[in-house]
């Protein structure tokens, strides 16, 4: 996983959203998803590449943080790319796309505006697939130590001697 993480630079979302580069742009050969500039790639083990790209987009739409790069969302949902989870995930994404087409005429990942994608998600938020993905993200995304600095959370502090000399009372704007 650590190796993949380093390689995963670039944004599935960006390509998915640009009309010109449709989803096919990501699929290199049979088993890879990659950014259009080929600056990241992840090998697919069990999921269809376009399904995985859709899943990454769904993850970002559920917990959108504009300062978190796609690679952290990829890590958060990479678990679905396994033999025992892929079938469930493929079925869930197919249902997501069906719902998306009903509402907008497009597959989920091709819908241009977040608000339109969110409307699709809202319409299925009580369903098991949505809840599984959302619930998994709570730890899958926010328990990645790599994202903590983006939120200003410093994590473990014992090895640094606590905050007694590192700003536990350094607030400047309270009298």
């Amino acid at each position: 996983m650590a190796k993949e993480r380093g390689a995963l630079r670039g944004l599935t979302r960006r390509q998915l959203l640009s009309g010109a580069s449709a989803m096919g742009a990501f699929v290199v050969g049979s088993g890879y998803v990659t950014g259009a500039r080929a600056d990241w790639a992840t090998e697919m083990r069990a999921l269809k590449p376009e399904s995985f790209a859709t899943l990454v987009q769904m993850a970002r739409d559920i917990y959108p943080h504009d300062r978190i790069p796609d690679e952290n969302y990829v890590v958060a949902v990479k678990d679905y790319d396994t033999q025992d989870k892929a079938e469930m995930a493929e079925a869930g994404i197919e249902a997501l796309n069906t719902r998306a087409r009903e509402q907008t005429g497009d597959d989920y990942a091709r819908i241009g505006w977040e608000s339109d994608r969110v409307a699709v998600l809202r319409s299925m938020e009580d369903e098991a697939f949505f809840q599984t993905v959302r619930g998994g993200l709570v730890t899958g995304l926010y328990n990645q130590k790599e994202v903590w600095p983006i939120f200003g959370y410093e994590g473990e502090s014992y090895s640094k001697g606590g905050y007694i000399d590192r700003g536990f009372d350094d607030i400047a704007w309270i009298g």
């Binding site: 739409d61 709570v138 730890t139 939120f151 994590g155 700003g167 009372d169 309270i174």
Partner: protein, 522 residues
């Protein structure tokens, strides 16, 4: 005879659970020369084992065996398998606790008399009162080295506290300080001062915070009178034809069933496991569960009404730096029905790390309304509401159809707010939001209760046997040599964090048991 003790030794006091109640009782009895076998379902972890990481620590220490939920409370929906946040380890939940150590207010011992009869509430006066408990509170505060008692200095104020204090002062509140905390503000014989690491809920790696895991338990063991068996899960309490308890059956660390004989059994498994154990110990003589002729075992489950308020500002706070809960506003703890509810509440500073904030801020929520709040994590301040909730018969621990790994029926925890609880929480949310608004908060977040950390009341103390499970000394009304020694004894919950009272009751109970034993009446 000195520890270790034989399984067949029927002269020992068996204590089930080694948390705030059981751990203290074990040491106090050992100090008095009483032979004690303490059986603890969890393993043994010490400060060097604790980890500054919320989920990893949870995995290490928390009780994650199955439990089920019912009732209207939101926890049953959001965390259906996790009604409570309780530790399974030597030292029990005193490893996770934040250290806030408050005495009850005098009127809170007499809730039924003070508040009157409330529809749907099963209020009752405690059979003991302020005057009787005062000397035991003195001892408990000494044991825990509580700040702002016994001449000990308060802790310094953290960033989160400074925001909290300024907001409270803006609203005219007077009783605002860095708390009475079982956290050292200076060196004592065995514990160092707080280093403001900010992981009080994950076990204090410096040992600055009191926990029975590294204070009372090793001290008791040092007497030679206490044997602690870790990874020993008690399945059932046994009794003879006379209705006296004779020992317990437990699963040892290998999963093998063992039997330990006992002269006295003290149950201290926390307010969810203690009633579960009594109910699982039903027999032909006690068909509704041990000590349950009143039908009150498991009922009147209390959890404090709780809730949090987070405030977001346009500038950094870094609330996670420093002690998790060293800050309090007590002006609203009084009983003043003109506010629209009986009883009162404390507001205390609180901080969660980013991973727990994501899980607990608004469970189930998603989308930008949620994530934009987390984006401001660095600029957030937080506080927790601890208010007295009403005892209700329907709020209860029962046996679920689900079984644990040993094939024992697990606890189902049912809870539904009383109207008084809801009114108090709304009022407290408003106070908290106004505190932050007065400082220019750009957003405030009234956050729902977390899985219960204060579990109380399921084997309550009563004057009359028909009203509760145990008497004024924690002795079962129905069984002369069976005691309850944890938070489940609470007749009512009061507005204060419960552990100082649990500890004071345990010290008092040890005194009672030792006296009765030497008088030959136990």
């Amino acid at each position: 005879m000195a520890a270790p003790f034989e399984h067949s030794d029927d002269s020992v006091v068996v204590i089930i659970g080694t948390g705030a109640g059981g751990g203290v009782l074990a040491n106090e009895l050992a100090q008095k020369g009483v032979s004690v076998v303490a059986l603890e379902a969890g393993g043994r972890y010490l400060p060097e084992d604790y980890v500054n990481d919320e989920w990893e620590s949870f995995g290490q220490l928390a009780w994650t065996d199955p439990r089920t939920t019912s009732g209207d409370w939101r926890v049953a929906h959001d965390f259906s398998g996790l009604p409570a946040w309780i530790v399974k380890a030597v030292g029990g939940t005193s490893t996770h606790w934040a250290g806030a150590s408050l005495r009850f207010q005098p009127h809170e011992w007499k809730a039924r008399t003070t508040y009157g009869a409330l529809d749907g509430a099963n209020l009752l006066d405690w059979p003991i009162d302020e005057a009787e408990m005062a000397p035991w509170y003195d001892k408990a505060e000494e044991k825990l080295r509580v700040t702002r008692t016994g001449g000990r200095a308060g802790l310094p104020g953290s960033n989160n506290y400074k925001v909290f204090e300024a907001g409270a002062r803006n609203l005219g509140y007077k009783e605002v300080h860095t708390g009475r905390m079982a956290i050292n503000s200076e060196w004592t014989d065995d514990r160092m001062p707080c280093q403001q690491t900010g992981f009080c809920f994950q076990g204090c790696k410096w040992g600055a915070k009191w926990s029975s895991a590294y204070t009372d338990i090793p001290r008791g063991e040092a007497t030679g009178n206490l044997e602690v068996r870790a990874n020993a899960h008690v399945a059932r309490i046994l009794h003879d034809d006379a209705g006296k308890v004779t020992g317990v059956e437990y699963f040892d660390q290998n999963g093998d069933m063992q039997m330990q004989k006992a002269r006295i059994v003290a149950v201290a498994g926390n307010s969810i496991e203690s009633p579960r154990l009594l109910l699982n110990s039903a027999s032909s003589m006690f068909p509704d569960g041990l000590a349950n002729s009143s039908g009150q075992v498991g009922r009147n489950y209390l959890r404090h009404l709780t809730g949090s308020v987070y405030g977001i500002f346009d500038k950094p706070v870094h609330m996670y730096r420093g002690t998790t809960m060293a800050g309090i506003m007590q002006d609203e703890a009084r009983h003043d029905p003109s506010r629209g509810f009986v009883g009162g509440f404390e507001l205390e500073t609180l901080s969660l790390g980013l991973p727990f904030m994501a899980a607990f801020l608004d469970p189930g929520a998603w989308g930008r309304e949620f994530t934009s709040a987390l984006d401001s994590y660095e600029n957030m301040a937080g506080m927790w509401i601890v208010g007295e909730d009403m005892p209700q018969e329907r709020n209860r621990v029962t046996l679920s159809d689900t079984e644990d790994g040993f094939g024992l029926k697990v606890a189902d925890v049912a809870y539904t707010d009383h109207a008084n609880d809801a009114a108090m929480r709304d009022y407290a949310y408003d106070v908290g939001a106004r505190m932050y608004d007065s400082l220019g908060a750009t957003r405030t977040l009234p956050t729902p209760p977390y899985p219960s950390t204060h579990n109380l009341g399921t084997n309550r103390m009563s004057e009359r046997p028909e009203d509760g499970v145990v008497d004024r000394n924690g002795r079962a009304h129905d069984v002369p040599n069976l005691f309850v020694s944890d938070g489940s004894q609470f007749t009512t919950g009061a507005a204060e964090n419960p552990t100082l009272t649990i500890v004071a009751l345990a010290i008092r109970q040890a005194d009672h048991i030792a006296r009765e034993m030497s008088a030959g009446s136990l």
